[in-house]
Symmetry: C2
Subunit: 463 residues, 2 copies
């Protein structure tokens, strides 16, 4: 970054829109992945799409790499700046632009906090169903850029399902209006879906139009104890067959052990190796209880409780939502994998054996969205193992785990994205041909390679 | 097509997989658009993806253009072969490959008839919701290639929503497995959605995995008489607010006049300028009747009937479904446009004036999916007007109509696609930048320009 570059930047950004002190560089230069050296050159804060457009034009001119930064809650390192990039933070673009009651859509700036969007929907008598542990600080732009999933995908789908329009600034320096609030449009290639999940590598999202839906009627939450991993899918299928499930979350006993250490209590009288949090509409409660009793008789469910109030439901949810936070101190190495549902029973059993064999001395915390075929596997760093040694070992096991995923036709990232962390493993999920098509597409939208370069894949095929 | 080319083709296709007689060329060389000279060189019938792959490799080698051909029910000319192209018919690829009960998906070959897929779902206790008048002959591959809409979009979304996986052969001659049955996959750019709606210009679809859903409970069908165009949206909103609508179809009196000429009877005692077919779950019938009575009192609805049996429901549906057929003899010039819902009232009124002013002597048959913001406008050719004169006049009005659409931020094709028919008007809906990005993307997947060339846009920007 030369003085000239900086001066040109100051031509269109005010002083308060540029930060370069050490603390800010460190703070804004990373997401939740703590494995990389943080080294941005500047942090800038656009206030509107025009600022973003000017930034891209400036960056193109000087071949300066830009890294988009939302709530920095990403788990794949997609928002890490380690190569003197300029970090573009969207936190000043946090306004609700329009509520359209006829279309039941909210149009918001990219930097709006997810929880805030949920609140805006509720205040208008509606429901925005994308929900996950980090929603209190994650931003909508980031949710769209990674196609965020969460706990309600089983009922409502991922972020992708709720996007009706996007305003993006491409790496070429053009503003595109994608989707344009239309329910139907059959005029050529769908760029809306191409940008969703592209992790800021094609362009930056400046505005998002989100559909909302009617509020679910009162929900009931079950917490179930399960003794065998192999029974999980059967339990899921039995409930799923007759009841619309709003959530079906698996947690291991070890996961809940860590959560209990933070002061939460397990509302069950016995301990089980596995637990399931199941959320359903209250109207289906009786039906669910009948299935529950049958599964208890068969020994597939060993214990269970049902929320009797909204508070109790929240207490059960807190067990699930606090897992990540409760293990954060143990520097977990995270994997976020998925296979198709029908292959999940066999996959679970093989992964269980693999992890027991390869990590005999590490604690492994599992939890996951069973109904989506999606598992989160967190390897905790033992205190006496050095960080680099630990990571090396996790990366060794990655190869084995990802080979297994490849064999099962699954994915190395179900909802966290690829970013930097999973980049070396992309070929386990995507074919060489697909990765090459991605490279070529990036060149079209970002001819100078300035938009979040080095994320998802490298610009050039390695030889 | 030289003898050598043909001989090479016969190396991997049997005699019965190649047709070149005049009748077949005419039959397979077109879709439902009757405005182009039909002139294919050959019709070929691959039996599997390997045949398609060999065809693409052969076409690349000799720079021969290929046109994909499904049920040939398209309304935009995307399956027209008028330039000596080789037509690739998928009708021999019509097998159900897999029913996966755990995932509730059907995997089928691209040439399966839409209605057959609906039947396969029903036989397994499920429901495939994509439904439209041409479903008895349209093929799934074509539905995906145009992201077909239909009468249930309001409740279930377009074809796009139901695709869990695609096998495609790109114009580069590579087989890609997209989506791969995964509910969640966050590893790079989404090519599944890029291929959906790409009208065979990037590659040909050989296999489709479709999600199905639970069968709707008993449905009731209302037929409502409406006196003013401006009341339509209000009526829609009032019902929509309290009742999940499975269909909400508008038809003009003229549309139903033509249908009645085919022998169908209108089950209402009075005539109205506009009619609405509304489909809801029986459970909501009482609620709907209350809203209906209120709207009658307000004079917004002038007449109405409710189906008392499945047969009666079918009879009402037949009124809607037979519109296109009943006017087919009048060589209708079709437009399939949409705007965002909130702009529909103002748009309807302006389009109504425009059509009355510009087509004083032509009969204009309107119908549409009000809940999707989508209108079908059919201009009928008067017997005494010559065809080319008629088309010229329709194209003159297109400019005015599409300018209006552009002003309202709408689309020139909601569900039919662009093909050849709407190609000259694409710029009314998509920006020059977007069209250029489309051109560049086509070059990546189809470097030799052999996959349905000249459809959607021309390969080179015209000067």
């Amino acid at each position: 970054m030369t003085e000239t570059h900086l001066r040109e930047l100051e031509d269109f950004l005010s002083e308060s829109q540029i930060l370069k002190d050490e603390k800010s560089l460190e703070f804004y230069g990373q997401d939740w992945v703590r494995l990389y050296k943080i080294n941005p050159s500047l942090i800038v804060f656009p206030q509107n799409a025009e600022d973003v457009l000017q930034l891209v034009k400036w960056a193109r001119k000087h071949k300066i790499a830009l890294v988009p930064s939302g709530g920095r809650t990403g788990l794949s390192g997609a928002a890490i700046a380690s190569q003197q990039e300029v970090v573009v933070s969207f936190e000043k673009m946090n306004q609700l632009i329009e509520w359209n009651p006829a279309e039941e859509t909210l149009t918001v700036e990219a930097g709006c906090i997810t929880k805030e969007v949920q609140k805006w929907a509720l205040e208008r008598g509606f429901f925005f169903p994308v929900s996950f542990a980090a929603e209190g600080s994650s931003q909508i732009g980031g949710n769209v850029a990674t196609n965020a999933g969460g706990v309600h995908v089983i009922q409502y789908g991922s972020t992708r399902n709720w996007v009706r329009g996007l305003e993006v600034v491409t790496g070429k320096g053009e503003v595109l209006q994608l989707g344009r609030h239309l329910i139907k449009d059959s005029t050529g290639y769908n760029f809306l879906h191409l940008f969703i999940g592209s992790e800021g590598t094609l362009g930056f999202i400046t505005k998002v139009t989100l559909a909302v839906t009617s509020q679910p009627t009162s929900l009931s939450v079950f917490l179930l104890g399960v003794s065998k991993l192999s029974d999980l899918i059967e339990i899921y299928s039995r409930f799923k067959k007759s009841i619309p499930l709003h959530a079906f979350e698996m947690m291991t006993d070890l996961a809940l052990d860590y959560v209990q250490k933070t002061g939460k209590t397990l509302p069950l009288s016995t301990k089980s190796p596995y637990y399931v949090l199941m959320e359903i509409e209250e109207a289906y409660q009786e039906k669910a209880l009948l299935i529950f009793e049958k599964l208890m008789e068969e020994g597939k469910i060993t214990d269970g409780t049902l929320s009797q109030s909204a508070e109790q439901a929240q207490e059960i949810w807190a067990l699930r939502e606090n897992i990540s936070e409760s293990i954060a101190g143990h520097k977990p190495y995270k994997n976020d994998i998925a296979v198709r549902i029908s292959k999940l029973p066999e996959f679970l059993s093989q992964v269980d054996s693999l992890l027991k064999k390869e990590y005999p001395e590490y604690k492994v915390v599992w939890f996951g969205h069973i109904g989506d075929g999606n598992l989160h596997i967190n390897i905790l760093k033992p205190e006496n193992v050095k960080e680099d040694e630990f990571i090396k070992d996790c990366e060794r096991v990655n190869q084995l785990l990802f080979s297994k995923i490849q064999e099962f036709g699954g994915t190395i990232s179900a909802e966290h994205g690829v970013g930097l962390l999973k980049k070396p493993y992309l070929h386990y999920t995507k074919s060489e041909e697909e990765i090459n098509y991605m490279r070529e597409i990036k060149k079209i939208f970002d001819p100078d390679g300035i938009m979040n370069p080095g994320k998802i894949f490298n610009a050039e095929k390695s030889v």
